[in-house]
Amino acid sequence: MERAQIESKLTDLLVDELGLERDKIVSSAKFEEDLEVDSLGVVELLMAIEDNFDVKIPDEEAEGIVTVGDAVATIEAKLS
């Protein structure tokens, strides 16, 4: 899957599953600070990524996902 495809699919997930505003979802946006996702929301995000991209994200890798860009990079690395 191309990076642009991952970004687009992830954006849809964030809008549909977490109810985030599409306009605010940019690569540099921090989930907790900029997008106001709470700790349970971060867990939801990880579950949604795992289910929809068919990847596994262990806790130690999950801790490194702070921004939307981090999530895209993590998914890209898993799929390559």
Partner: protein
Amino acid sequence: MARVALVTGGSRGIGSAIARRLGAAGHTVAVNYAHNADAAKQVVAAITDGGGSALAVGADVGDEEAVAAMFQAVEEDLGKVEILVNNAGITRDDLLLRMGAEAWDDVLTTNLRSVYLCSRAALRGMVRARWGRIVSIGSVAGISGNPGQANYAAAKAGIIGFSRSLAKEVGSRGITVNVVAPGFIETDMTAALGEDTVQAAVGSISLGRLGRPDEIASLVGYLASDEAGYITGQTIVVDGGLAL
């Protein structure tokens, strides 16, 4: 609104009454059982005869893999679990000085580990749906203690702390988590206490009688409903005014 409900230990006693109650309320009910498939099928038949829909699912709810398989089977057949009733419970009574580690572990596994495993499995769908009801069956023994039941009381008290914590974790997602703590109810579990113990207990019950399983089920039915959406983290005692 009709939902998908799962009742652990739903083949007998209080669990059976809860499963029937939820079925009568129009919910689709998965009736879990550990050993007694025939009893679970009778509960399913009672629900379907009343015009409801139900399914029997066997699983040892203290076992992680069995719980995962049970949820998979229920979700494939009925859909995501929206109402979870953690009812499965056993006793292995003994005075602590004589209580073996096996009696401790068996009770903690079936009565408390099961609550963790089933709640975690159900939450995934509930969080996504932004709606859920988790009702666990505690016991007055978990509040007041009971000689010979240190293991059972510990598990039941554990359910209360678990439920309060989980209520705080998932409240923002429209999920409520509550405990119903019965006193002495007419079931095989209280019958096993013996006539003398039961009579002594009745003497300290304000209403002067044991409770009926449907008197627990009616509250569980309410807590599982849309109407009860502002009650969470609570332990509600249903004991006929025991030792007031």
